[in-house]
């Protein structure tokens, strides 16, 4: 039996930033003039079409660092090159990398915002802000159980589920393939006494109207305390059932699904009016808005 609700559109995302003015200017430059800015105390909303990007001020923001986490923002193809030149002129470093999803085989520009959140400039057309979002997990099996079996996401593609390293990985190790750093990892082999490279296990999902890229972490990263359920960075989706019904499912059948492989584990959640907040096993935060 599937979930009793359906997750709909990706309404927006919230990121932590150190300096609101600098972050507003950075994202405003990428999104262009059609983005509307709504400033409140301690945060700023950039709204474009049906989606928003919320920038939340934090003294020590939780940012991408060297994890796989990144938000891919839609930029029209013609704007990408001049935008990269402007950002470079402002002192930003641009990394041109490719990823392993069939839609991302061509190198694209990646840049960090002034606080260190990684942003991908994805060429395309959209009335909204996001092309896709990439998340990282210390346990990808648990993440698949939550997103696919509990929340109803569909598997779009996967990569790195094989020990067959293949020529692409060897090329990356030799420095001739611009695969993004988080898509590969190396380890020293005591058999061959050399560094061996492998593709990081990756799972690509469709959740509601959004594409999510999920990566296995290559090292441990400090997560927020387990009891924290409402936090940032956060993805915000619409949901077609009220929070009480969603919460009942998380406490019932949803919890049973997770407990099949993770005995005693629960799906932590909190409700607030028409919103329900959950924390995934990677410490990523999700908000489901009823009627959003």
């Amino acid at each position: 039996m599937g979930s009793p609700f359906r997750i709909g559109a990706l309404l927006g995302a919230a990121l932590e930033v150190r300096d609101l003015d600098a972050a507003e200017a950075f994202y405003g430059e990428i999104l262009g003039e059609s983005a509307r800015v709504e400033r409140t105390r301690g945060s700023s909303h950039l709204v474009m079409g049906p989606q928003f990007l919320e920038l939340v001020r934090r003294a020590r923001p939780r940012v991408s660092a060297d994890t796989a986490q990144h938000h891919a923002l839609v930029v029209s193809g013609a704007r990408i090159q001049p935008l990269c030149e402007r950002l470079t002129g402002e002192g930003h470093q641009i990394g041109w990398w490719r990823e392993d999803h069939p839609a991302e085989r061509t190198p694209a520009p990646y840049v960090e915002d002034p606080s260190g959140n990684r942003v991908q400039l994805a060429g395309g057309r959209s009335t909204g802000i996001f092309d896709h979002v990439a998340l990282e997990f210390a346990d990808l099996e648990w993440a698949e159980d939550l997103y696919v079996r509990v929340l109803g996401a569909e598997i779009d593609h996967y990569h790195g589920w094989s020990s067959d390293r293949g020529p692409e990985v060897e090329a990356w190790l030799a420095g001739t393939d611009p695969a993004a750093p988080w898509t590969r990892y190396t380890r020293f082999s005591f058999r061959s006494r050399t560094d061996e490279a492998h593709a990081t296990p990756q799972l690509y999902l469709r959740l509601g109207g959004a594409r999510l890229a999920m990566f296995l972490a290559r090292r441990h990263v400090q997560e927020p305390p387990e009891e924290v359920v409402r936090g940032t960075p956060r993805l915000v989706f619409s949901v077609d059932r009220p929070p009480s019904e969603v919460a009942a499912y998380f406490d019932g059948r949803g919890r049973e699904i997770i407990a099949e492989r993770y005995r005693g584990r629960t799906i932590r959640h909190e409700t607030d009016d028409d919103n329900i907040f959950i924390r995934d096993p990677g410490g990523n935060f999700i908000e489901l808005r009823y009627g959003g």
Partner: protein, 155 residues
Amino acid sequence: MAFAENFSHSGIGCSSDVREGEAFYVDTLNAQPHSWIGLNVDDLMHARGPHPCVIAGDFLFVTFPQAGPARDRSGERPRGIGGARHAFAVPKERFPQFVDRLRELETDFEGPVAHPESGPLGESVYFTDPVGNHFEVCWRRDEDHQYHPVIVGGD
């Protein structure tokens, strides 16, 4: 009582794509996915890539990615040539359903093959997984016989 009490599990290379390999065991044998090894950050540096465990009946398969090209099975009978195969029994009345299932999945198989009436086996079908490991599913003429109960662990 034998010194080795029961046949516990097999470690088996199943496919270069382990998700595809898992799907074969789940779809064909109705095996239950158990868990993955190598899908957390601690295993990443030590395991040989992610690989799933599946349970068919009470038997555990720890499957591994099979490096290199799949075996050329052209001209080879699916019951194997002197090689080992895993054989599972189903009740006699469910055997035709299993054969129908193989046809539905378009899995190449040999059989059903009738065994001697004096022996313990009734009929068998033979097939292979994506990399050529041999499997047999049979029904047993002695299925009403009470065997030594399987002891998975403990006293």
